[in-house]
C-alpha cells in the first residue's frame, strides 16, 4: 500500500448548484473544501442533495453554470468521469454480472492497459485487503450482500484513485452486517488514508467514519463540523434532531434559568428571552429523587434497551422529555422523579429553525 501513502487529491467544490431539466433545484450553490486524505461524510435525509453533490464531484452530473470542481487546484469541471481517476462504490454495487470477482476488481487496470501479471498481483493484494480470499473465480450472483460490498470497494480502490466516492455503500445490507462492515470499512479507510467522500442517511455511520460531517437539508448545507461538534453543538433544530436523540425544549429564560412547567433549569445564558429553544440530549439527564430536585416530572413509560433504559417523562417540560437512565435503576411508570441536568448540557438553538 506504500504507493497510496500520501493520500489522493484535495477537493474543492466551488459554488456548485444543480437544477434539473424539469426545474427542480436539487442543490443550492455550495462551496466546500476537502483536505487531502480526509474522510468527509455527506449526511442527510433522502432528497437533501447529498447524492447530487457526490455525482457532481464524480463527474456524473455537471454543476449549474458558475460552479466548479477542483482536484488539487486543477479545474476538473469539464473532465468526464472516465478521466477523473475517482473510485466509486454505488449503492447497488453495480458489479459486472458477466465477469468473475477478480475480473471485476481488475477491470479498471485492464482498461488502463496494465499488463496481466501486474494486474493479477494488484488484484491479489486487494482480495487480501478486503478479506474475500477464495472468492476470486466466483460469479457475482454467487456472492452474498456483504461479499458484493467488499468486491465493489476492492474494484474502486484497485485503480489507486485520487478520491474515493461511496454512495450509501452499506444501505443495502441488513442491520447486524451493516454494523460489522461499518467498523471494517472504517479500519480500511484509515489504512488507505485516501481522500474519501461518503454519502449516507445513517447518522451512526457518519459519526463513526467521518473526520468531518456535512449535514444537508433540502439541497443546502445545514452544518459542517467534526462528529463531536455536530453532536454537541448543533447549529439548528434540524441538525439537533437529525443527529442522535434530542429533547427540544421551548421555554422562557429568566435570570440564567429555563423556566419550565416542572421547575427551573440553570443554563449558561445572561440574556432574558421570552421564547427560547434549547436542546438537551437524553443521556445528559440524571435521575434523582423528586424532593430535592429543582426540576421534576412523572414517568410516563419505560423501554428497557439493554445497555440502558429509556424513560419518557411528562410534566417537566412543555412536551415529553426523553431520559436515558442506567439499566440498573429501579423505577416504574407513574413515579415522580427529579431530573438533574448540568448547565453545560443545555444547548440554545436559534428559535426560527
Amino acid at each position: 500500500m506504500s504507493a497510496q501513502a500520501g493520500h489522493g487529491a484535495a477537493v474543492r467544490i466551488d459554488a456548485c448548484g444543480k437544477t434539473f431539466a424539469d426545474g427542480t433545484r436539487a442543490l443550492q450553490p455550495a462551496t466546500l473544501d476537502i483536505a487531502r486524505g480526509e474522510t468527509l461524510v455527506l449526511l442527510g435525509p433522502s432528497g437533501c442533495g447529498k447524492t447530487t453533490m457526490l455525482r457532481i464531484i464524480a463527474g456524473l452530473e455537471l454543476p449549474d453554470a458558475g460552479g466548479r470542481v477542483l482536484f488539487d487546484g486543477k479545474d476538473m469541471t469539464p473532465v468526464p468521469i472516465e478521466r477523473r481517476n475517482v473510485g466509486m462504490v454505488f449503492q447497488s454495487y453495480a458489479l459486472f454480472p458477466n465477469m468473475t470477482v477478480s475480473d471485476n476488481i481488475g477491470y479498471g487496470l485492464k482498461i488502463r492497459g496494465v499488463p496481466s501479471k501486474e494486474r493479477a498481483e494488484r488484484v491479489a493484494e486487494l482480495v487480501t485487503l478486503t478479506n474475500i480470499s477464495g472468492l476470486e473465480h466466483r460469479r457475482i450472483d454467487q456472492l452474498s450482500g456483504g461479499q458484493r460490498q467488499r468486491v465493489a470497494l476492492a474494484r474502486a480502490v484497485a485503480i489507486r484513485p485520487g478520491i474515493l466516492l461511496l454512495d450509501e455503500p452499506l444501505t443495502a445490507l441488513d442491520a447486524a452486517l451493516r454494523d460489522r462492515l461499518r467498523s471494517e470499512l472504517n479500519r480500511l479507510l484509515r489504512a488507505l488514508g485516501i481522500t474519501t467522500i461518503y454519502v449516507t442517511h445513517d447518522q451512526s455511520e457518519a459519526m463513526e467514519l467521518g473526520d468531518r460531517v456535512v449535514v444537508m437539508q433540502k439541497g443546502a448545507i445545514a452544518q459542517i463540523g467534526t462528529p463531536r461538534e455536530i453532536y454537541f453543538t448543533p447549529r439548528s433544530r434540524f441538525v439537533a434532531e437529525f443527529i442522535g436523540a434530542a429533547n427540544i425544549v421551548e421555554a422562557t429564560i429568566e435570570d440564567r434559568h429555563l423556566v419550565l412547567p416542572g421547575g427551573r433549569q440553570p443554563i449558561h445564558c445572561d440574556v432574558n428571552m421570552p421564547a427560547a429553544v434549547a436542546m438537551i440530549r437524553p443521556e445528559t439527564i440524571r435521575v434523582t429523587s423528586a424532593g430535592s430536585a429543582s426540576l421534576s416530572g412523572t414517568i410516563d413509560s419505560i423501554s428497557f434497551i439493554g445497555d440502558r433504559q429509556r424513560l419518557v417523562v411528562s410534566g417537566a417540560s412543555n412536551r415529553l422529555l426523553t431520559v436515558d437512565a442506567p439499566n440498573t435503576l429501579r423505577t416504574r411508570p407513574g413515579e415522580r422523579i427529579g431530573l438533574s441536568i448540568s448547565p453545560d448540557a443545555v444547548r440554545l438553538l436559534p428559535p426560527e429553525s
Binding site: 456524473l60 468521469i81 447497488s92 453495480a94 459486472f96 454480472p97 482498461i111 474502486a156 466516492l165
Partner: protein
Amino acid sequence: MSHRSFVWLCLLPLAVVTAAFFLLPMARLVVTGAGGPQGLAGYLAILTEPRYRATLINTVLLAAATTIVTLIVATIAGMFLQRHRFPGRAVLIAMLTFPLAFPGVVVGFMIILLAGRQGLIGDFSNRLFGEKLVFAYSIYGLFLGYLYFSIPRVILTIMAAVQKLDIGLEEAARSLGAGPWAVQRDVVLPALAPAFVASGAIAFATAMGAFGTAFTLATNIDVLPMLIYTEFTLAANFSISAALSVGLGIITWFILALARSFSGSAVAAAG
C-alpha cells in the same frame, strides 16, 4: 370427482386439438416423407441432392444475414429510442413497429414498389445514371423484405431489455476509466445478450420459413419454402416436399439450439 380427474378433464380439449391439428399431420408428414421411391433415403436428399443442398445453404445464409443485420440495426435504434426523449418519439416507435401488422404478401408488394421495375429506386437511378436498378425479384429483394419485418420485433425486445439495464453498471465502468466503446463492449452488449438470443432466434426462424414475401416477389427465388412449394404444387412430388418440410423444421430447430447453447454461458452470466 376428484381434483385430479377434474384437471385431466379440463386438459381434454387441448389434447384433442393437439392430436388433431399437430401430432397427426406431423406424423403423416413424416410418413409421407419416407414414402417416395427412395424410401427413408428421401430425407437425406436435402443434403445429398446438389440442387436441394445449394438451396438449403442459400436459405441458411439469407436467414443468418437477416438476423445479423436486423440485430445491428435494431440494437442501435432500440437503444436510442429507449434512452432519449424527443418530440415525435411515440410516433416514430409506432411507425417502426407498424410492419408487424402486415402479412408477407404486403411486404413483398412494398419491396416491388421500392425496388421493382417501376420502383422508386429504379426511377431514381435511371435519372441519375441512366440505368434502372432493379433487385426486388431476387434474393436481395427478399433480404430487404425480411429485414423490414424482422426489425420491429427485435426493436421491441431490445427496448424492453435496455429499459431493464442498470445505469449504475455503465457509470461504474466509466468511473473505472472505460470510454464509450469499452462501456458498450464490456457492459451493455453482454447484458443484452439474452435479448439478442431471444429476438435473433425469432428473426432467424421467420427468415428460414417465411413464404408470402418470397412468393410475391418471384417464383424462382432459391429458398427452401419456395422449393417445397414448387415440388408440391408444380411437380406433385409429395414425398420429397414432405421430406424437405421436415428437414427445414429440423435444421431450423438445430441451428437455434446451437445458438442457444453457444450463448448459454453468456446468458447465464448476465442473468
